[in-house]
């Protein structure tokens, strides 16, 4: 057992902090924005792209990849340190879909050509990704996806609608799951995983505004969209297996505990400035900080497993579930702390913390849905983690 970071890891953290200190716009640090609070992020995408490229230049988006694909074969703790610092500096720049999902999927299941074609763009922070799994009629039940890709001689032709596509309006490329066999039984054996250039003709992206008033996700329509056959990852009709293995990654990639931790500190600062401290309040803050600490450890355990070559599964469901629900509790605590003021939105007289409090709270309703719902996570933990039987 050893709960320290290595000296090299500590040095890396310093280096990241120094770069962010230099590059993150002062406005971002002043307003302390996060991806979970899109208020005031009108220039988010520009800042994201700028920082992503700075991180890419340093090779920091691919440190833990194998050396033959541009990585340095370092432990996943480097990725985690990077993301902790990004959270601390309220900085965008890490494309959690490209870096956190697509790259692992390609590394795990992609062909040699695909690795050479797609990984460099992700590593350089120059190509942004979205993923289209969910459909209007099928969310949790991904295996029931209906968007159909019809095989032709040199390509597949996709028709149908996806929904809730985060960053669909910014993305250059898309990780798409589509049905390629309607007769497959069970139905998950008829799905294929495609990499799709968002500039391909026939794709329409329409915004959906969430209850916090932010435009973050979209609906995406496909009309005779042609995808070359070589863009299939993991083989025809084997898409579900790719998704299942990458979901284990998806559930670990967000260092939400770090974002929650910075938010707790910001709320404590608000309390201090407004003389709100009481024993009850201090108690609540302390409880949330202890929760954060545990959340951090659950994440580190997953990174540690990955560093040992183990494949985390229910362990990542645990860290995702706990950290996202923790962030919900922290967001709700913010509402209690600010009381009447917590209803005020950005741009209102008297608004505290640039309107982050209601923005974070309202946004937090999505945490127990995105990347798989809390119910599904609890099922995964119970059935795969604890070996409990399933009801047939």
């Amino acid at each position: 057992m050893d709960f320290r970071f290595s000296p090299e890891e500590e040095a890396f953290r310093q280096e990241v902090a120094a770069l962010l200190e230099r590059e993150v716009p002062a406005e971002y640090r002043r307003k302390r924005m996060t991806f979970f609070d899109m208020s005031a992020q009108h220039d988010w995408i520009q800042v994201h792209r700028y920082i992503a490229e700075r991180l890419g230049e340093k090779g920091w988006l691919s440190l833990h990849w194998p050396e033959e694909y541009g990585g340095r074969g370092l432990s996943p703790f480097y990725r985690l340190i990077l993301r902790e610092e990004l959270a601390r500096y309220h900085s965008p720049g890490y494309d959690s879909i490209g870096c956190g999902i697509v790259a692992p999927a390609i590394l795990l299941k992609g062909s040699e050509e695909q690795k050479n074609q797609y990984l460099p763009g992700i590593a350089a922070g120059k190509v942004m990704w979205c993923e289209t799994l969910s459909e209007p009629n099928h969310g949790s039940d991904l295996a029931a996806a209906e968007v159909f890709a019809k095989e032709e001689t040199d390509c597949f032709v996709v028709n149908g609608q996806k929904i809730w596509t985060t960053n669909g309006h910014f993305a250059d490329w898309n990780a798409l799951i589509a049905r390629t066999d309607r007769a497959a039984n069970p139905n998950y054996r008829g799905l294929t995983f495609f990499l799709l250039d968002m500039k391909t003709p026939g794709i329409t992206v329409n915004p959906i505004v969430n209850m916090a008033g932010h435009h973050e996700f979209n609906e995406v329509f496909f009309e005779d969209v042609r995808i070359p056959k070589e863009n299939i990852v993991g083989g025809l009709n084997k898409g579900f297996y790719v998704v299942m293995s990458l979901l284990d990654y998806e559930r670990t990639t967000d260092t939400v505990y770090a974002i929650a931790g910075t938010y707790i500190n910001d709320l404590a600062e608000y309390a201090r400035q407004n003389n709100l401290f009481t024993p009850v309040l201090e108690n609540k803050l302390a409880q949330l900080r202890a929760d954060c600490e545990v959340s951090r450890l659950l994440h580190y355990r997953v990174a540690w497993m990955q560093s040992k070559g183990m494949v985390p599964n229910y362990e990542s469901a645990m860290s995702k579930l706990y950290s996202f629900e923790l962030h919900q509790r922290v967001s709700e605590f913010g509402m209690d702390l600010a009381g009447q003021y917590s209803q005020l939105v950005e741009g209102s007289p008297r608004v505290p913390m640039f309107g982050r409090i209601p923005s974070c709270y309202l946004r937090s309703f999505g945490y127990s849905l995105e990347q798989g719902t809390s119910e599904i996570d609890r099922d995964v933990i119970a059935q795969r983690g604890l070996g409990l039987p399933r009801l047939r």
């Binding site: 969310g139 809730w164 505004v209 209850m211 209803q343 309703f365 999505g366």
Partner: protein, 375 residues
């Protein structure tokens, strides 16, 4: 004991439900949220025709029914997420005039309120939003037959739509017991009043109201000079219980929407309502809704009977606020991503519930009150 509604209350419920279903469809709600004043004159007129503004006021002033009738109607308003200066005028402003006003003042204001001609709001909280007399800093000084008010009030509901503002101000040293405060009615067009809208997530119309040497006749003092806080306390009790009724309606409707959705949304070959995780959530929602309803009814009934209701009112507001949040959280969870969008109705309920919760003192404020009452 009788937990049910009587004939008159049932009639009010049906009347209000039918009226609101016809006159307050979702598109009106959406318009009200965006509207600057949040008041549609035509709707207001129709409400006045039905004598909704006179609810719980004595007949001699053009009123009708009692506090329980008002509670029943507010629950229905909650169900449609009703926005508008109704609550501030009827449940709070009129209640303050009833509680503290002399004959002359009642005759002057109440008939106009009951007929929908006048709106009135209570300006209570200040920068440090507290519901204690000691927290008041706004000052008013007697000059001959007038009082001159100086100070800044925050979170004043519907101030733009109000014809009169009841201002709680300091007239003397606070003695920790609530004395030293005075309630005075001010014409909203009096020189020296400025207001700025505070923008809220729910569309609740709250204002910052600044009083700069604002004059009001000594005849407009409600109750006695220096002893206004007793009236405020009475009004707060009623206002909080009335807010609870609104939250009950909000929570009930959110549960209804959730049950409908759980029956129709299919995942893994079943309606999601067949999954035990979802059923258990819905079961807990029902406990929260019905628990809220009966906590509210009990406190409202005590107030209506003229019994002491300090504990019941505080317990109701504290509990209902929390229960309502839990209901909204579950409603969103069961709805999945669709309930997370601005196009879906659910978020209006979630936000409106927050506005109700925080006004007149949220969970923390009520728990502190309750704790003090048990000391």
């Amino acid at each position: 004991m009788d937990f049910g509604l009587n004939e008159q209350q049932e009639m009010m419920q049906t009347l209000a439900r039918d009226f609101l279903a016809g006159e307050y469809p979702n598109k009106v709600l959406k318009a009200m949220v965006k509207d600057e004043k949040g008041c549609a004159p035509e709707l207001w007129e129709k409400m006045a025709e039905m004598n909704l503004m006179g609810l719980s006021l004595p007949e001699e002033y053009g009123g009708v029914g009692d506090f329980l009738d008002l509670i029943v109607v507010l629950e229905e308003m909650g169900r449609v997420c009703f926005l508008g200066p109704y609550f501030s005028t009827v449940a709070v402003g009129a209640a303050a005039i009833m509680a503290g006003g002399n004959k002359e003042q009642r005759e002057k204001y109440l008939p106009d309120i009951a007929s929908g001609k006048a709106n009135v709001t209570l300006a209570l909280t200040e920068r440090k939003v507290e519901y204690e007399a000691d927290a008041l800093q706004t000052m008013t000084i007697s000059r001959g037959g007038y009082f001159v008010i100086n100070g800044t009030k925050l979170f004043v509901p519907d101030a733009q739509a109000a014809d009169f503002i009841i201002c709680a101000a300091r007239t003397g040293e606070s003695n920790g017991g609530g004395d030293g405060t005075t309630l005075i009615i001010v014409d909203r067009n009096e020189p020296g009043i400025t207001m700025r809208p505070l923008k809220t997530v729910s569309g609740e119309k709250l204002y910052e109201v600044i009083f700069e040497n604002v004059k009001s006749s000594a005849r407009n003092v409600l109750g006695e000079v220096n002893h206004g806080w007793r009236i405020v306390e009475k009004v707060l009790q009623r206002a909080n219980v009335a807010r609870c009724a609104e939250m009950v309606g909000l929570a009930q409707q959110s549960l209804n929407m959730t049950l409908d959705y759980a029956k129709e949304r299919i995942a893994f070959g079943h309606p999601i309502g067949a999954f035990q995780a979802i059923q258990h959530r819905c079961a807990d929602m029902l406990i929260d809704v019905e628990g809220s309803r009966f906590a509210t009814y009990q406190a409202a009934w005590r107030l209506n009977e003229g019994l002491d209701a300090a504990k019941e009112a505080a317990a109701a507001k504290a509990w209902v606020s929390r229960a309502c949040r839990r209901v909204m959280t579950s409603a969103h969870q069961v709805h999945g991503a669709i309930g997370f969008t601005e196009d879906h109705l659910l978020h209006y309920y979630t936000k409106r519930a927050l506005a109700c919760e925080f006004s007149y003192g949220g969970n923390d404020v009520q728990l502190a009150k309750l704790a003090a009452l048990y000391k």
